[in-house]
């Protein structure tokens, strides 16, 4: 069975939703395929309003079920009984995880993908990020610069709505901003102290795709807290709340869920994709679709899996892999946490749950190497403010009224946590291959990642601990504890996996060109995280959106000018 569309988009997450919106708005008939289950905006969010007592075990982690069905997914902070419906069942859909080169593949199994569960932090790359590979020669240069991408950042920001404060920082360009969220009293205290004692460490409100004003028909945030359950008021960006409705409005969208894409088929020239072969996740029925252009947005590991699994005589090592780079140069952001205890502003409190924190942008190696830095590139910190309650002190002596009363009030102190996200250098040995024998339930070879942090990541993490001590001290912490490489996150746990189908001008070293177009297959575009040639230290989703929109404009222009044959 074959059906004709102008474009097929594989994946409906952060990048796939954008491809659907841009392509349908340009008049193309678009088929979006997703392996995940259908999920309606609003009514589909089963746990959105769940109280602790509405959930099994009063919302405590179901250890047995997690171990059996979600051993990987249950590792992430965003996973819980309140949104378990979103996540991939690791027992039914495993991948091959190597104990000695571990990589945690955090993924969902619903339409909308991780645009439902993401942390919503949105930051632009700077010229420093785009030129890093060229300047320190750690990898191939990017084929674009910030100037080219800036208008596309504006384009996507205006649609999704990004709240934040303009700071005029070169290393963290300002976005098109809605007003920033407001501060805790202690955050104001900390910011004032840091400005005085550590003026080289900037502090700003987290920039996030959460609305502080009504925007494009979606409501401003009402500060209930757990965004990762799904938000029926559309107050944060997700495919469900934003891009898919826009695509649907055009009348040009067909969305089919429960379809795993097994492989792409090219024509006899090897230069054009002609068909997408799918397997229904429920019936295992095989259905194929054709189109003129194809956008691969299945997420980093899944897209590369698909390219590798589509090998043929013309493309013996995976599609568009003359360079040998396909599957290689896998990256994630390295992470570690630091905490400080503060007794200032203890007589102040808060109302509402703010789903955001402060952000401390990169201040190391800006515009050249810092003298005391034995590492390349840099890192930033995401900050979280917490006022401990009974959960932090139930483990004390006491039986009866005095024990009960001791648990009712907030603690006399605040806890401020800084979480480092450090840039990861692209290394050839960090890669994704198809396992030679392990297959998934559809007969598709399992993804087998190999990953280990390099010296540079470990040094960045160590330095972030050293600097965090200075920050905590200057901020006025009465007690603090910092992390180092011993506490470095597992690869993949940053949930910013990127690379393995990198872009570059030279087809001998890159899979894609500057427009996310496969060097060897003109009607194939890959716009999820797999195209990334380096990783910066900032959260990448906004960059995926910008490149996707830009690639769509190029692809349609090429199509209309008959340049994709």
């Amino acid at each position: 069975m074959t059906t004709q569309f102008d474009a097929i988009v594989i994946g409906s997450g952060i990048s796939g939703g954008w491809a659907a919106k841009e392509l349908t708005e340009k008049g193309l008939k678009v088929l979006v395929l997703d392996r995940g289950k259908p999920l309606e905006h609003g009514s589909g969010y089963q746990g959105e309003h769940a109280n602790n007592w509405d959930l099994p075990f009063h919302s405590l982690p179901d250890r047995e079920n997690n171990q059996l069905n979600y051993p990987i997914q249950s590792k992430t902070y965003a996973f819980g009984p309140d949104n378990i419906q979103f996540w991939n069942n690791d027992r039914l859909n495993p991948y091959t995880r190597k104990d000695d080169q571990p990589f945690d593949w955090i993924r969902t199994d619903v339409v909308g993908g991780r645009s439902l569960t993401w942390g919503r932090q949105t930051y632009r790359w700077s010229e420093q990020d785009f030129s890093a590979n060229r300047k320190d020669a750690q990898s191939i240069p990017w084929p674009v610069d910030y100037k080219e991408i800036a208008p596309w950042y504006s384009h996507v920001e205006k649609f999704i709505g990004v709240s934040g404060a303009s700071e005029g920082l070169e290393q963290l360009p300002d976005s098109e901003f809605l007003p920033p969220m407001s501060y805790y009293a202690l955050e104001k205290t900390i910011k004032k102290r840091l400005r005085k004692k550590l003026p080289n460490v900037p502090v700003t409100m987290g920039r996030c795709a959460i609305l502080t004003k009504n925007h494009n028909g979606r409501s401003a945030c009402h500060y209930c807290g757990p965004c990762h359950r799904g938000c029926s008021t559309g107050s944060y960006f997700s495919s469900q709340s934003s891009t898919l409705p826009a695509a649907k409005k055009t009348g040009n969208l067909t969305l089919i869920a429960n379809k795993v894409v097994e492989r792409l088929e090219h024509d006899e020239t090897g230069k054009r994709i002609v068909a997408v072969h799918t397997i229904d996740t429920r019936t295992h029925e095989r259905v194929s679709y054709t189109a003129k252009i194809f956008f691969l947005c299945a997420s980093t590991l899944a897209s590369t899996q698909l390219l590798l699994n589509s090998s043929s005589q013309a493309h013996p090592n995976g599609l568009s892999n003359r360079s040998g780079a396909l599957g290689k140069f896998l990256m994630d952001h390295a992470s570690v946490s630091h905490m400080g205890m503060f007794v200032d502003n203890a007589q102040t409190f808060y109302k509402g749950h703010r789903p955001n924190g402060l952000y401390l942008p990169r201040f190391r190696n800006n515009n050249g190497q810092d003298e005391d830095a034995n590492f390349h590139r840099g890192y930033g910190y995401q900050a979280h403010m917490m006022r401990p309650d009974w959960q932090a002190r139930f483990n004390t002596k006491g039986i009866g009224k005095s024990y009960k009363d001791s648990l009712l009030k907030p603690a006399d102190y605040w806890i401020w946590v800084l979480s480092t996200f450090a840039e990861c250098l692209p290394q050839e040995k960090n890669q994704v291959t198809l396992h030679k024998t392990n297959k998934d339930q559809y007969g598709i070879p399992q993804v087998a990642p190999s990953f280990s942090w390099g010296d540079n990541e470990k040094q960045l993490i160590d330095d972030s601990g050293l600097q965090a001590s200075k920050i905590m001290k200057a901020a006025g912490a009465v007690f603090y504890q910092t992390g180092n490489r011993d506490g470095i996150s597992t690869g993949g746990a940053g949930i910013h996996e990127m690379g393995t189908a990198r872009m570059g001008d030279d087809p001998n070293s890159a899979v894609l060109n500057k427009y996310n177009q496969a060097h060897e297959i003109a009607n194939l575009f890959v716009t999820d995280g797999s195209f990334m040639t380096s990783s910066s230290c900032v959260n990448p989703s906004l960059t995926y959106m910008a490149f996707t929109a830009r690639a769509c404009e190029y692809a349609v222009d090429q199509l209309l000018n008959d340049k994709l044959a």
């Binding site: 109280n51 007592w53 805790y184 509402g352 002596k397 009712l408 979480s419």
Partner: protein, 207 residues
């Protein structure tokens, strides 16, 4: 009714036994209250607590978090929560500690007086004072598998209480939605907010 009567009444409630004059004399209201209560029991597994176990668990929970000028453990259905957690959530090794501890507790209870329960629990807690459970910061984990019975029990009471509707809304208070303000005065009498994310779910994640 006074507190002693409440606990006796609740024991009967929890044990599921029909009101019986063998054990205690109940007022007509208390009998009515018990008879109207819905049947308990929705745990997955078949091995539930026996009636004596239920009675002890209910009385011990109430001793740890009593009804004061605000509801207590029994008001918040903590005994039922504890039963489900022990039967369905603790692993085999942790269950063993719990059941052995419950037997020990039973043996130490020489009478049904609520003050005896408090004394016995305090003594068990004093005996356990070297346990790592009491270490500052030993809360950023899903469960302390080494915790002795008295610590397990207290933690279950606390979790069952503050994550219950009664505990969250009538003892603590709910964080109002609508807007965020990070700079409001904290009054002496202000409680912290109930109905919030379990910290251990986030702090134990790989970051």
């Amino acid at each position: 009714m006074n507190r002693r009567e409440l606990i006796q009444c609740a024991s009967i409630l929890i044990t599921g036994m029909a009101s019986s004059s063998e054990l205690w004399a109940l007022s007509k209201d208390q009998k009515q209250f018990i008879d109207n209560k819905k049947a308990y029991g929705h745990a997955k597994r078949e091995t539930l607590f026996g009636s004596r176990q239920r009675s002890i668990v209910a009385n011990a929970a109430e001793a740890i978090i009593p009804r004061t000028d605000t509801p207590g453990a029994i008001d918040a259905n903590v005994p039922q929560f504890i039963e489900v957690m022990v039967v369905d959530w603790l692993n085999d090794a942790e269950k063993k500690i719990f059941y052995a501890g419950l037997i020990t507790l039973d043996e130490k209870l020489t009478n049904d007086d609520p003050t005896t329960m408090v004394t016995v629990l305090e003594a068990m807690e004093a005996e356990a004072k070297g346990a790592a459970w009491f270490d500052f910061g030993n809360i950023n984990r899903i469960w302390d598998s080494e915790a002795p019975f008295i610590c397990q029990f207290k933690e279950l009471v606390v979790l069952g209480f503050f994550f219950s509707e009664t505990g969250a809304r009538q003892v603590l208070r709910e964080n109002p939605m609508g807007s965020f303000n990070g700079d409001i005065p904290l009054i002496q009498s202000d409680t912290s907010y109930g109905n919030s994310t379990a910290i251990r779910s986030i702090s134990t994640s790989d970051k």
